[in-house]
């Protein structure tokens, strides 16, 4: 099955990003396809390469980057939501790209299921 994923909450503050990541990993392991992961609302903060968690904690941002690299997953950050929150090209982590809300709508159209992680 082809999944579209929406992440609506920031890292560490909320479990949404962790759950979305684990969902993507499990889906890929089962042979499903991740069409795109779209980051919206505070979810755009998952794309900040300035994030530095303590050594003994998971690195949520780096984990997304690694998943994108290994599985060629399209990680898209909403431009309007990102600019509001100070996320720009210059502080974007590897594997993420900034684009418009049309990418979210397209994911809804192209994917068999659009799964939202948020409040």
């Amino acid at each position: 099955m082809k999944f579209g994923i929406v992440v609506n909450e920031g890292p560490y503050q909320h479990q949404a990003s962790d759950s979305a990541y684990l969902f993507c990993k499990a889906a890929l392991e089962k042979g499903h396809q991740i069409f795109r992961v779209f980051f919206y609302h505070d979810g755009v903060n998952n794309a900040s390469r300035l994030t530095e968690p303590p050594q003994d904690d998971r690195n949520i941002v780096a984990r997304w980057s690694k998943l994108a690299e290994e599985h060629k997953i399209d990680l898209v950050v909403c431009v309007a939501a990102a600019l509001r929150r100070g996320i720009k090209e210059e502080n974007l982590a590897p594997g993420f790209r900034i684009s418009g809300l049309g990418q979210l709508v397209e994911a809804g159209i192209q994917a068999d299921r659009l799964v939202t992680f948020g409040d």
Binding site: V6, H41, A80, A81, L101, L104, V105, G108, I109, T116
Partner: protein, 124 residues
């Protein structure tokens, strides 16, 4: 994008008060873009989300933008399917007359059935 096979039923479920968090405002942004993609768009308002449609919003005191006029502009984007949950209105002492746009009021069960008919449900 307007080919028959590419039109999906998108429902936006609004459950939060208009101010206090940014969900309602950013939800509206997705709604407008989705309509621009010629999709079949409907909006549902439940829980505190019904306050998003309340008449007479004044936001000067909290120094945030009053975006409620946007709901009246939705018609211009051919977004005419607005559903409000009856139980949510009643629990808050509101009636259809308190709302700034024409809506269809549905009971919880009917709302659930309508959600079941959608291809994509985005909840904000």
């Amino acid at each position: 994008m307007s080919e028959e096979g590419n039109v999906k039923k998108f429902m936006f479920v609004n459950r939060k008060a208009p101010y206090g968090t940014i969900y309602a405002l950013e939800s509206l942004e997705v709604v407008l873009i989705t309509a621009a993609f010629d999709q079949d768009v409907s909006l549902a308002f439940l829980d505190d989300g019904v306050y998003q449609l309340k008449k007479g919003q004044q936001t000067k005191g909290i120094e945030t933008k009053n975006f409620s006029p946007t709901y009246r502009a939705l018609e211009g984007y051919d977004i005419e399917k607005l559903y409000v949950e009856k139980e949510s209105l009643e629990a808050r002492g509101l009636t259809e007359d308190d709302l700034l746009v024409d809506v269809t009021v549905l009971g919880r069960k009917e709302m659930g059935e309508l959600m079941g008919q959608q291809d994509v449900v985005l909840s904000f």
